[in-house]
């Protein structure tokens, strides 16, 4: 297998990792605020902050990792996406900045503030929406290059049903993934009232998630026939995705084995996300960048892969330590440490 495919596969895995951890994080911020508005904050806020406090920074790194990696492996992406995305990506940076720093101000600072809470919750939904624009752009038709000047066609973007359905899908998936994780976390902590609340969230957000998934698929078929056909060829992956969704729903509904339910949700998104990604082949940005032409020099590509492996050898044990200390330490989760 050629180095650029390896590179892209690893990057895609990282983006998937970000999708999961960031969804948990973004959704939790929204639920924390929602619970406050509906005066249920005493039930779940303790739970959420115990999970989030040690890991919020790690979440951010997944994202930095992905875009630095993409630019490293495929420098042309910097040129096209960088030129076209100045405004939407700057807005995303500002939202991320507000969210990250306000989280620290709120949790490590001295005073609890409603404004921080609101911004924390609201940005949790706006960030996935603004980041998903990059996915829409990759489908082609929104970026135009004329006389060496790359520009984004805002009118076409804002009137595109595909763009809006991707935004919708991003938001509802965040809420679904997050509430499923919190359900698992609450049951692990043996926190009955919180469990009841977040389980209801999870059951509620499952329906819009599957509907948004279907509409996105339909609009994709109208916008990019090639990508749609490629994905249809991967029908078995889409089938597995739906299958895992149904398993997750059944477990949530039965009210047992929430850990397995969350894993099913992870697999549901794993197969959908990879079917989408593989279906994109051979383009990174339709029609300007292909995987083969856009790749960096082989020497750099190989050095990056080596750095990757070295980095993972360092990171995986550290991540396991982090999880054992906070996520899977029953006493910590229950609030005893």
């Amino acid at each position: 297998m050629s180095y650029e495919i390896v590179g892209l596969a690893v990057l895609w895995i990282f983006l998937y990792g970000y999708l999961i951890v960031a969804s948990v994080d973004f959704g939790a911020g929204f639920f924390a605020y929602y619970a406050k508005v509906t005066k249920k904050d005493h039930i779940i806020n303790q739970l959420i902050s115990r999970y989030l406090s040690p890991v919020w920074e790690v979440t951010n790194v997944f994202f930095v990792f992905f875009f630095v990696g993409v630019v490293g492996f495929f420098p042309d992406t910097a040129y096209y996406y960088g030129s076209a995305l100045l405004v939407p990506a700057s807005i995303a940076i500002i939202l991320l900045a507000i969210r990250g720093s306000f989280y620290a101000f709120e949790n490590y600072g001295s005073k609890k503030s409603n404004v921080y809470m609101f911004l924390y919750g609201a940005t949790g939904l706006l960030i996935p929406a603004s980041l998903s624009v990059a996915l829409t752009l990759s489908e082609g038709g929104f970026i135009v290059e004329e006389n060496g000047v790359v520009s984004l066609q805002y009118m076409e973007l804002f009137t595109s049903p595909l763009a809006w359905s991707i935004v919708g899908l991003a938001i509802v998936s965040v809420l679904f993934i997050s509430s499923t994780f919190l359900t698992f976390y609450a049951s692990y902590a043996n926190d009955k009232p919180a469990l009841k609340l977040v389980r209801n969230y999870a059951l509620f957000w499952s329906t819009p998630t599957i509907i948004a998934g279907l509409t996105t698929f339909i609009f994709l078929s109208q916008h990019n026939e090639r990508h749609f056909q490629n994905m249809m060829d991967l029908w078995w992956m889409l089938g597995l995705s739906v299958g895992f969704f149904m398993i997750a729903m059944w477990l949530l509904y039965q009210g047992k084995r929430y850990g397995l339910a969350f894993i099913s949700v992870m697999l549901q998104f794993f197969f959908a996300f990879f079917a989408y990604g593989i279906g994109h082949y051979p383009y990174i940005l339709d029609p300007y960048i292909t995987i083969a032409d856009g790749a960096t020099h082989p020497s750099m590509g190989i050095a990056l892969i080596v750095a990757f492996i070295g980095g993972l050898l360092l990171l995986i044990p550290s991540l396991i330590l982090l999880m054992r200390l906070f996520l899977f330490d029953a006493d910590y989760v229950k609030g005893k440490k």
């Binding site: 406090s53 790690v58 990696g69 910097a78 991320l96 620290a104 750095a307 980095g311 330590l321 200390l325």
Partner: protein, 453 residues
């Protein structure tokens, strides 16, 4: 219009970096101070040091948060504001950028663990070990990102074929000629600035009128510890500055020449401090040190120093960087001087090292150290104008063509004002509402009031 987008691109990047380096410096230097304090606390069984480590760590998280988000901003802005640069240079510098993210990742994981495990281990030393990956992670991310900046100054590790980079050697690019001296100077100045900033806080607290005996002992200990570290790093940093100047004289003579208003190549060149230029580009009102520039450049008072006239006029850096260079050097000297003065005064029994004027000088040196870092970076960056990759790509070829760049500048300006203000407000509240004497009594009820040990 085209000139405008380039100028706005430069201003936006300068603003983001100028804001970020304050927090980046804290991120590199403060963990070392926390770690040493915690270690002293464990070894000496002195709760004052442990409390220092805890309180610094608490304030540190707030600054880390701002550092993380502004670091994310600059990471993305590299591609957003300089798309042509990243398309070309990405081929050569992707590796250190990538490794920087790894180092950051490593640091992020252990910061989370460190902050939440103060009381979770049986032996306090176990917790102390967790501070080491944070120091390494912070230091290594500084190292990797500095190699990227060094590459832009002295590009290496590739061959040019028909206007594109070919035969790329990522390791050679990373270990380019400018890298060692830059890394040395960046790290030593970060440790220095953080030590002196923490000393400034301690000095400021000691200047307060009503201070309990307990708190006074705590702050005096903090002052002595931080100023000792300050002195060590100020001396190392002086050496690093000297190494950097010698490097510039050999590899980037136009940068050193512009900083010193040294126009004609000559032997026995003078060092010029401050002053201004008259209409004939001659320095006026300056302080002149005969032959010292030659010594600074080559370690020999009579050596030949290349002048700015050897560089074509349109490729010369702006001459105002002279002031940036001078201010940086003068502040560096001041920091070394004041920490030395404190150490001498504290050794002589008759003298009082907590003299009001000395304490005010120390308070002043905290912000001065960070100003020196800003001046130094402005000098380094403006000193390679008009290049973005020296010798290969100019800044105007690299910038975005987007007409929205001016708007983005305003948007980010607003963001940094809000973040900067809130950061200060939150930090002030954090320490005001939680005075050290209360916390000491809560954590260590056995400690005697007014313990002077």
């Amino acid at each position: 219009m085209e000139l405008d987008t380039v100028l706005m691109s430069r201003l936006l990047t300068a603003m983001t970096l100028g804001f970020h380096i304050i927090f980046a410096t804290l991120g590199v230097g403060v963990p070392l101070m926390i770690s040493i304090a915690e270690f002293l606390g464990i070894k000496k069984k002195d709760p004052h040091y442990t409390m220092l480590a805890r309180r610094w760590a608490r304030g540190f998280v707030i600054t880390v948060a701002v550092g993380v988000v502004t670091g994310t901003a600059i990471g993305l802005q590299l591609s957003l504001v300089w798309p042509n640069f990243m398309q070309v240079a990405g081929n050569v510098i992707a590796l250190p950028l990538f490794m920087e993210v790894f180092a950051f990742f490593f640091e992020a994981i252990f910061i989370g663990i460190y902050l939440y495990t103060w009381d979770r281990f049986k032996k306090p030393i176990t917790h102390w070990f967790l501070s080491i990956p944070i120091i390494i992670g912070g230091g290594m991310s500084a190292v990797f990102i500095t190699t990227v900046n060094a590459f832009m100054n002295t590009p290496d590790g590739f061959e040019m074929e028909n206007g594109v980079f070919a035969a790329v050697n990522p390791f050679e690019a990373m270990l380019n000629p400018a890298a060692p001296s830059k890394i040395f100077h960046v790290l030593s100045s970060a440790y220095l600035a953080c030590a002196v900033l923490l000393a400034a806080f301690a000095a400021f607290m000691l200047l307060k009128k009503k201070l309990s005996k307990q708190a006074s002992a705590y702050h005096k200990k903090a002052l002595k510890f931080t100023l000792t570290v300050t002195f060590v790093f100020a001396a190392i940093n002086f050496l690093a500055g000297d190494v950097s100047a010698k490097f510039l004289a050999d590899e980037q003579p136009e940068k050193l020449a512009a900083a010193e208003w040294h126009f004609e190549t000559e032997e026995g060149a003078d060092l010029i401090l401050f002053g201004w230029l008259n209409d004939n580009n001659e320095p006026v009102g300056e302080i002149r040190f005969p032959n010292v520039l030659s010594f600074l450049a080559h370690g020999d008072f009579n050596s030949e120093v290349t002048g700015l006239e050897e560089t074509p006029e349109d490729l010369r850096p702006p001459l105002w960087i002279h002031y940036m260079f001078d201010l940086m050097v003068v502040i560096g000297g001041f920091l070394l001087g004041i920490s030395l003065l404190y150490l001498i005064v504290s050794k002589v029994k008759k003298w009082n090292e907590h003299n009001k004027w000395l304490l005010w000088g120390i308070v002043l040196s905290g912000p001065l150290a960070f100003l020196a870092i800003e001046f130094g970076w402005i000098y380094a960056e403006e000193g390679r104008q008009p290049w973005i990759i020296r010798g290969y790509m100019t800044v105007s070829e690299a910038a975005t063509s987007s007409p929205y760049i001016g708007l983005m500048f305003l948007l980010f300006l607003g963001l940094y004002i809000v973040l900067g203000t809130l950061c200060v407000v939150v930090l002030r509240k954090l320490f005001r509402n939680n005075p050290v004497e209360e916390e000491l009594e809560k954590q260590y009820p056995t400690i005697e009031k007014g313990d002077e040990s």
